[in-house]
Symmetry: C2
Subunit: 622 residues, 2 copies
């Protein structure tokens, strides 16, 4: 029965899987919710049915009982007031802001249902049902990246998954030094430089060939002991480095001093030429490269780094004796790999892609939404050692549900705190998962929510591909809309300048008064627009268009924004003086604006809302 | 209005706050749930009421829509089958196993409600409502430990909170070395040894007296840079060290080699004499002490370490120039501090305690359930630098909800990744919480669930005190029950030997055949009993008594279990040969067995269930 669940999506209608912008599916949600709640209540009641209830009907009508219920309700009323007052209306197609959106109704239902059991996936024993589900979800992750001998698990969030990736990198890269100390014949004839440049697979092959006692002895002399951390070398991240990478380097003891930023290009993607230069310079100084991070879907631009070129570079460098660990931070973009996998999990050839997408209805229009660059980048993720994947982002699963996939399953032994054989025989999952991952206790309900989402929408073109397709198509519609957009506000012309054609589903843009040559003034205009289009200026529930804002500052982005700034008519000196360009940023997650007619309807509304805000701002700026 | 919510608990009836062992409050739960869901749906619908729904009634009756709903329901049915088959019936008073129990109905409802908005507390902007709640919960944590200038926040789980504590310790203790490098006059005349033994408050006072630029320069030269990690010294943990401490030392780069186990006494509490000896030995070798961990509520015995004596020792050692960071791992026990706080948050004098508990009805019987040792230990937590507190354990909040409290609020700046002034002015909370904590994205729903629990049950004798009281009283009843218990199984006498009088709510015991002098055989008997009383032997739903099992092994516990083993009639040699004693372990969390009559009713059932299992085992052992 389970087997059928994962497939057979010919007739999928995604609109049935969300509550809806106007709560169109509220009745469906409530009916299913109550059905599930009843099933839980029946389960409670029928465990040892001979036992009498301990809470009597008499007690339930007592004064203290009633007053306690009143109190609970008063607190819940206050909760309701506060949430309805201070929440973001991301369910509406008028929301073009942060990474918030509708989540999958089946996931919300599954979470709620599983929460009634309150399983803790730290150990198999206390949560057999949801522990099995997490194991299955981990296999889904591995399959998503074509990791044929990999595994994966749920993590509280992407920052922690990144940290776990760095922890893996640190410990695995330190093993050869430990081998040299514990059993030198394993790495005989290798210099320290060579030891620090061994490939992960070679390291693991040697380790796995040893008996348990030797493995434990080598592990004890690895970086987990607190040794050799400073010998492992540099951790290279894209220049636009997300603060989570700084934090990860701090926490795992590698240190901020070892983090080396690599410039991004005009499309805000990691510049592989610069990466090669950086590596060559370090290698010339005999500084090892601990690892490189490539990002698949940056949080500010949705940029997809050329993972394929990083992998190519690694192959090239291996020949000259340099090896770096590769972690792909696909917290944001990972689920988009579903767009490239057929129902058997094979990566679809690029020249077949549009045809397949048409067959499955992943996009409404037959356009080349996916560039070859992005395609190649996603394809090459299969070569990374570890990948961050966040179900709570493009998986449309409620927070908090992050994840990680590990290409070589045997790597989990090098960070584990129990002997390898501590596995539950029925599920082949670790019986004490907490000893194999960064975290400890974790909600079984999260595993249930992700598992349910993956069973309703398999991670390929027939399932998640359709949902991600909707998001990308809506983003492209929004990009085209902005490209054609301009305003005439009481005689003042406002131009609209999108940043780049989106790699994915993030659309950035700026407004400028036509002819304005004052860069600072343009920045003020966009900041003011953001304030009008966010919680900053009064109750957000009354706001009819909402977006977000970010600064591309020289300190962080280097000069990569300069090309865009110049394209708007500003000069090198303007850029040098301001040192930042303020950007409006839309993360287009809504599952409803992929549709041409729906989009057209909202385009008019959004244009009016923007015009009204601009008018107000220009009046105030006078 | 909110102000009233937190107090006025004269007439509190805890039975109204749980779904109940027989789903007695199922109707209340469902009615409230649907009311809340309707409130969310109304909110969705009424945001910009002029917008037409994008999912039409026609579409909802289409074939594809219906088949997608069918698919969703099929997956949810499968989920239901798997959860009902493979879950643990902790809702029943027949469950005396792991840390699983009923959770507070208001928390489940709050989580479900808030999840519909899917806020992410990583940043204030995307979750204003729940971010404010997390700030308030953080203040609750600080108040729980009488941290008058502290703060706190929610963490995914206790392992991560412990890791965050160690991260804090590492970075703060490294600051004096950084000061010496950046601005030597700040620490003029101090030797490196003195720098490594400065108190946390002294360090923070100096740092806080500097301007932002200097602070940033000092931070950059602290351990976050990856330097000085090996100079900071040893991290001392109780001998029974939970693997989360090994993992934490590994991850934060301090290293397992720096973890020093300190023996526990016969009551499985940290032995402060041994601690002093260990420290003196290290100091004599000029090895600094990075920090000491005391545990308030060990996971295996519920033992509460003498935090007061550790604090006293620290005061004594300070006079001779030694200072260690103190982290209290109260993941399990923290909420029990509510039993000692009056409604104004003041710590109640010991000689008034029973009187106050009687006044508030925290215990049904007027007995000395709380020993002076345990009282003193809880009192002294106010002197720790950081404390782990898990709402998902004794807070009766659903997983995953951990937490941490920090005594000196200014410490958060030393681990932060943004300038200190990045605070939201309305809430005084960090506008980007993710830059001030170990994690990144986190469910706003968790904050709502904990906030709601704290508003219904304030963290003092009038609220949580009553709930924790129920648990402790039930544990004591169970302990007394075991003390009086013995079996006659077809002529064979079985004796029951509780381990220690519980510090808290964990009761450990063993069975032995009367007169049996074969230690290995006793271990086999208890292991077999566990297998009969757990998922190991077939479907758990059909099992009428469930408990858990743990091994007290020499490798880990040293010889602390020897006294217990000898008390059962075995010898020193028996202990040396077996090197472990298998223990049955009940974490008594049920909120219903505090009652004398209820307990008596279940005592009979449990005794029969135990007898049946023992009989089966003895038959098989023949």
């Amino acid at each position: 029965m389970t087997d059928n669940i994962g497939n057979n999506n010919d007739n999928l209608n995604l609109d049935a899987l969300f509550i809806g912008d106007k709560a169109e599916n509220a009745d469906l949600f409530k009916t299913t919710l109550i059905k599930l709640v009843n099933e839980h209540m029946g389960w409670r009641k029928n465990y040892m049915p001979q036992d009498e209830p301990l809470i009597s009907e008499d007690e339930k009508t007592s004064e203290s009982f009633k007053s306690t219920v009143n109190k609970m309700n008063a607190v819940l009323d206050e909760l309701s007031v506060r949430l309805r007052t201070n929440s973001v209306p991301w369910h509406s197609p008028r929301y073009f802001g942060h990474m918030n959106s509708e989540t999958l109704m089946p996931s919300i239902l599954a979470y709620t249902y599983a929460m009634l059991w309150n399983g803790n996936n730290v150990a198999y024993e206390s949560s057999p049902g949801t522990s099995q589900m997490e194991e299955e979800v981990g296999k889904d992750f591995a399959k998503l990246f074509n990791f044929n001998h990999g595994w994966g698990h749920i993590v509280a969030d992407g920052s922690l998954a990144n940290m776990e990736g760095l922890w893996y990198a640190r410990n695995v890269k330190s093993l050869p030094l430990a081998m040299k100390e514990v059993k030198p014949e394993l790495v005989e004839g290798k210099s320290d430089w060579e030891l620090l440049n061994m490939s992960v697979d070679d390291i693991m092959d040697i380790l796995n060939s040893q008996d348990d006692k030797t493995i434990d002895a080598i592990k004890a002399k690895s970086a987990r002991g607190g040794v050799d951390l400073s010998k492992l070398g540099k951790w290279l991240v894209p220049q636009t480095k997300h603060y989570s990478w700084m934090k990860a380097a701090d926490v795992v003891g590698i240190g901020l001093d070892q983090v080396v930023p690599v410039p991004v290009d005009d499309n805000y993607r990691l510049d592989v030429n610069e990466l090669e230069k950086t590596i060559n310079k370090l290698v010339a100084e005999k500084t090892p490269i601990l690892g490189v991070v490539a990002v698949a879907g940056s949080t500010e631009e949705g940029a997809v780094d050329p993972v394929d070129k990083v992998v190519e570079l690694r192959k090239k460098l291996m020949k000259q004796g340099t090896y770096f660990y590769l972690h792909v931070d696909a917290a944001y973009g990972a689920y988009a790999r579903s767009l490239f996998l057929d129902e058997d999990g094979n990566f679809i050839p690029y020249d077949k892609l549009q045809e397949v997408h048409q067959k499955y209805g992943d996009f409404q229009e037959n356009k080349e939404y996916i560039s070859k660059d992005v395609y190649n980048a996603f394809k090459a993720i299969s070569e990374a050692e570890t990948v961050t994947v966040d179900p709570h982002k493009m998986g449309y699963v409620p927070y908090a549900a992050g994840g990680i996939a590990i290409r070589n399953i045997t790597m989990r032994n090098i960070i584990s705190y129990f002997a390898t054989y501590v596995f539950d025989k029925r599920s082949k999952a670790p019986s004490m998962l907490g000893a194999y991952i960064l975290e400890g206790s974790k909600a079984g309900a999260t595993a249930a929510a992700v598992w349910t989402a993956h069973r309703v929408l398999p991670l390929n073109v027939s399932g998640y591909g359709k949902l991600i397709g909707r998001s990308i198509e809506a983003a492209n519609r929004y990009y085209d809309f902005l490209n054609d957009l301009s305003f005439d506000i009481n005689g003042q012309k406002i131009e609209v300048n999108p940043l780049t054609k989106p790699d994915f589903n993030m659309v950035d843009w700026t407004f400028n008064v036509k002819g304005n040559k004052d860069f600072a003034k343009m920045n003020s205009l966009n900041l003011a627009f953001y304030q009008e289009a966010s919680f900053v200026k009064g109750p957000i529930y009354n706001n009819d268009f909402i977006t977000s804002h970010t600064d591309f500052a020289k300190d962080g982005y280097g000069d990569s924004p300069e090309a865009y700034v110049k394209s708007l008519g500003f000069t090198h000196d303007d850029w040098e003086n301001e040192k930042a360009v303020g950007i409006l940023r839309a993360c287009v997650l809504t599952p409803l604006l992929y549709d041409k007619d729906n989009f057209a309807e909202y385009a008019g509304k959004i244009k009016s809302a923007m015009a009204e805000k601009l008018s107000k701002i220009l009046n105030q700026m006078k």
